[in-house]
Symmetry: C2
Subunit: 240 residues, 2 copies
DNA sequence: CCGTATTTGTCCGTATGTATG
DNA sequence: ACATACATACGGACAAATACG
């Protein structure tokens, strides 16, 4: 593990001191570990050694242990008493369960966003979809992935519901673990997915709650099918 | 705070030792604090003093601090750096947001339960509703509250989705904090609520997913209205 | 506004349990 | 099976920040 981060400075910089004014080392360690896990920097199933991580982050073991408990509740790691902490592995069955919940929340996001979205947020959504169409031709998987995250984040803000945002983000994190578990990357059919995004924006813009809800639920289920399709038949070309 | 719990035994009993074989002190402390918070033993907004709780539980501050981090992620407490940990207060606005999410999940529970419920679970649901009708006449608020929890727990099991259960339980916990915050107890109109439960059981028994979903969503929204009604007009008698 | 007491934040030592040869 | 090495679990000491008089 590379021993670098916002933490781990021998001589704390002014910025680091400012961070510590508001955040405990435990919270900073939690965020840093969350970043390393969701980014794939730490592999799924990997064991998190207290002393290694503590030294890598330049803190003692106390804050690291506290961060572990938070990450456990957040569903990112699994704690086994007297054995250690491991990056959580999400099975196919669990992923299907999570998708069911996510679809329900995604539908709610669509309904609320159609009610509450502001003009500037609509502009942002349209800008993201525009970038998606531009990307469409070159098939850049990683860039598309980021735009997709941005799209759903804008919708989430537009829904104006903090509890919804909290639970939705956790589900997305868990699905990322599954994606990494299965080593499937770029399974999205970008042209199809982009058109779905476009239709969603139009529904939200028309303030059509029912349509936005339905399109987002279907969008999630389609994403799941595309992912499973990539898993089940890796050699076969997938129809839209 | 009463210094009693499964923990805090000077001479650990055999049962306590068995507990410790599988659970760390941090996890036990977390559960115990969760119980004390959700039961109202510790008041909403109260400050949780590390040393007091540690001595009350008969452990050191380390496990208590770890439990705090987990409870923070679980939405039961709020951590302010260098100031302390407080039982979370849920405002009216937050409660409304949580209700929106809960309604969506409750609808999903109804749909999945209608798909997947087993005969013995249906029997359990009917038994609970029967008890509710029996209670109906004597208007026992606390007993009804417990039956209500049991009813929704059976449905949750019948839905057979662990992720759904996790997120649903957290939302219910948060709404309990709101209920306690507003000091509203027994705001349910028991006859009406019981009939709603009965209708839900019938829909699930008929495997009518759409109806079960709709009835449960409405049930949640009605519960919210009954609660808000009790808040807005405390002096007035509430109509159904 | 300052000094003191209390509380939180962090670190490290020790005990206990687990994995390995 | 045993012994050794290693990792985690817990407790306690010290430092820093906050609250109080």
């Amino acid at each position: 593990m590379p021993p670098q981060s916002e933490l781990n400075k021998r001589a704390p910089t002014a910025a680091a001191i400012e961070l510590l004014r508001e955040n405990s080392l435990a919270m900073l360690a939690q965020r840093e570990l969350e970043r390393r896990i969701t980014s794939g920097e730490i592999a799924v199933g990997a064991k998190l050694n207290e002393v290694d991580i503590a030294s890598a982050l330049g803190v003692s073991r106390g804050p690291v242990r506290e961060a572990f408990r938070a990450l456990d509740q957040a569903g990112l790691v699994r704690v086994e008493k007297n054995r250690g902490v491991f990056v959580r592995q999400v099975s196919l069955e669990e992923a299907n369960e999570i998708y069911e919940v996510r679809a329900a929340l995604e539908g709610l996001i669509g309904r609320l966003a159609a009610q509450r979205i502001q003009p500037d947020e609509l502009d942002q959504l349209r800008a993201v979809v525009k970038k998606m169409f531009a990307l469409d031709k070159s098939r850049k998987g990683e860039a598309y992935f980021l735009l997709n995250v941005e799209f759903h984040d804008i919708l989430l803000r537009a829904a104006r519901n903090a509890a919804l945002a909290t639970h939705y983000r956790r589900l997305v994190n868990e699905l990322d673990l599954y994606r990494r578990e299965t080593l499937v990357r770029g399974s999205e059919n970008i042209p199809v997915s982009t058109r779905e995004h476009e239709a969603i924006v139009n529904a939200v813009a028309k303030r059509d709650e029912r349509l936005a809800e339905r399109l987002l639920v279907e969008h999630v289920l389609h994403s799941r099918e595309r992912l499973h399709g990539a898993l089940a038949k890796p050699a076969r070309t997938r129809a839209a």
